[in-house]
Symmetry: C2
Subunit: 378 residues, 2 copies
DNA sequence: TTTAGCACTCGGAGGGTTCGAGTGCTAACG
DNA sequence: CGTTAGCACTCGAACCCTCCGAGTGCTAAA
């Protein structure tokens, strides 16, 4: 059935399959499942009794020894059971994992939360993160990808009184920003009307970099503005384009870490929490490749040293207008990959749908969870 | 000099002062200072050597024994040194503490950060918290007090295209909120103009509670609106008044906890972090009384059980328009009360100044730190 | 090829001992 | 009479040792 080769392992002839034998796969899967649940190294006896393979512990032991030699399992110390290695988790995620199928309750729970029409985008993003943390019981990061070609689409200047007015800018990502400006000088509605016409003509459709001092001073000359109104408005436009375009990051549910035994050691927890509290480093966390919607990064596959003992699952969703958001969870390598990835995927698809102008989801509609069907085997 | 009385302590006649003798005060101060710095119970020898009182450890010991009997000190166990009790900290804070005077560098650092003109209020508040956490090296909470009589001052409806428009609402606290509305039906600029006139006439100056279903349906009849525009706009007004009026809470710098030895025990840290991650409970944290700008709550003085071993220092600042903000830090009872309260006070005064329309602070202007002069004694 | 049997390994829990910082008390001192 | 040196005592922290048992790898038999 599979290509075989013979190999000398510790002076003994041992069968080594290029791909693992079905039996080894079953054993690896069983060990990983148990370890994910219990966080305790798994012994041969446990597997012999629970896997339903009908093999004795001695047989399991020899298979486990081979899986260890092949790098799929590790032994914390000689007289302990086995634990999946990073390679083992990777194989489990790619081929063995029971794809978790969302229950109706889970899907409804997610739908219910999605339909809460939320307010401003940044608040919405942090709310999404909070919800994801609850959903997965791991710390979560939520961020929006940087938008490279963000432009202002529309300027409105609202006259409030002779020394106050409101700048309203609508951006190409359909977000709207405003600021109340207090002046020491005076304005009138007519001036503001003229200025907004000029700004709509000259400052729309251009990126933040194109708003040069030259453009500003040329506009000042053209409008005869001497009181600095033009530069106030242009400055706000730059500020908005910069901050909005550079994305934002939120971390929520950090205390969830403590729920997992691997972070009972304060220094482990501290290291990871410190990492997560640094906004700039969160931007460097893994993200799905362009052709994928989900990415699972296991332990040492992470670039950051602080994450070498942790795994990250991150999904992408569309915010419309080329902008995208990411939601990721961080947990121990012994993470519940199956459930977490299913829930995050479903959440991401719901969000994309919502941002593409989708209406409120019909409650209990789990028909959209394509790709979440039962996987390899129950 | 002081009223004395004689009292039987453990069968021995012991001098008990109604107020503590100067020497006892000095010893209590010395013990508290050392303990705040080292987090280790303080022995009589340490004090004898470092306090400069010129007394032997035996004398110190007997004074310490009396301070313990009076409730100012505690003994973790018989053969350990002394630790200030909550009562001891309270006395220290009220009477003994060296009032920390900000250095020029500290004041400049704060000024520099204050002058960063920040954007939206909610983001600003979380930024203030972040800065305070950095300033004090303790976890920080920042929140705005609830504004009871918040009203909308002004409505503007901006026509974008036939099925999109922007609602802009200016509130009585001078904040401006907006939302882009996507319609399935169509609108035109004239309708929007009429609607904004009506909303400015009927919906301004009234609180959220006054926006009743009756008012909405009456407005619908008056404008002949059948496509639900009135209720969309009114609904947004309610949402904005509610969320803005109820204040917001942010916690930052939670991982600072780990810097202090009392939170090396994971369960302590976990308990406190869990408490701090619950937004609704943060609202219940102590706040200064009406006639004060700063409040220090020590250990068991806190109402919440989770805070019985922690102290909270919180300052208030004015946001203008009767609204106020709070910044608090949470740390071990062995908190550096002196430095933290000085820095927070200075920060709060700077913020009040800024929100009252104050201009950028002159760099290095420490003249405003009234009340931060050297206190009791250096 | 599988399994029962067995000697072996080694981390963790439990218990005992040592160490020393700090105490309270007493008696002597200025 | 307050202050101090001296001293016996206390008790937690650190260390060491032993025991226990889960789990292993190997071997020989089925």
């Amino acid at each position: 059935m599979l290509t075989h080769e013979m190999k000398l392992v510790r002076g003994q002839k041992v069968e080594v399959t290029m791909e693992l034998s079905e039996r080894k796969k079953e054993i690896l899967r069983a060990i990983t499942d148990v370890y994910i649940e219990t966080a305790e190294p798994v012994g041969s006896k446990t597997i012999a009794q629970n896997s339903g393979l009908g093999l004795s512990s001695a047989t399991i032991r020899s298979e486990m020894a081979e899986l260890t030699a092949l790098g799929y399992l590790e032994q914390p110390h000689t007289s302990a059971g086995r634990v999946p290695s990073a390679q083992g988790y990777r194989f489990y995620v790619n081929e063995l994992m029971n794809r978790h199928r969302l229950s109706l309750q889970e899907a409804e729970e997610i739908n219910r939360n999605l339909t809460h029409r939320l307010g401003q985008l940044d608040k919405m993003i942090s709310d999404i993160g909070r919800f994801a943390a609850k959903l997965t019981s791991y710390p979560t990061y939520a961020l929006t990808t940087t938008v490279s070609n963000l432009t202002a689409e529309r300027f409105d200047l609202i006259f409030v009184d002779s020394n106050r007015f409101i700048i309203v800018i609508m951006l190409s990502d359909n977000s709207v920003q405003n600021r109340l400006v207090q002046l020491t000088s005076e304005v009138d509605p007519v001036t503001l009307g003229k200025l907004s016409t000029v700004f709509n003509a000259r400052f729309t459709g251009i990126t933040e970099g194109a708003i040069t001092p030259e453009l500003i001073s040329a506009t000042e000359r053209a409008t005869g503005d001497s009181s600095g109104l033009v530069s106030v408005i242009a400055g706000y436009a730059i500020e908005v384009l910069t901050s909005r375009g550079s994305g934002e990051a939120f971390v929520t549910g950090a205390t969830r870490l403590f729920e997992h035994p691997e972070y009972q050691d304060i220094s482990k927890a501290r290291e990871l929490l410190n990492y997560l509290s640094d906004g700039s480093r969160i931007m460097n966390l893994p993200a799905p490749d362009d052709n994928q919607d989900i990415k699972i990064t296991i332990g040492p596959e992470n670039l950051a040293d602080e994450l070498k003992d942790s795994s990250v699952i991150v999904v992408r969703y569309d915010l419309g207008n080329d902008a995208q958001g990411l939601i990721g969870v961080v947990g121990p390598t012994r993470m519940d990959y199956s459930t977490v990835s299913a829930r995050l995927s479903y959440l991401a698809r719901g969000l994309s749908w919502l941002f593409s102008g989708g209406a409120i989801l019909p409650p209990g509609d789990t028909s959209r969870d394509n790709g979440l069907e039962d996987g390899f085997k129950k």
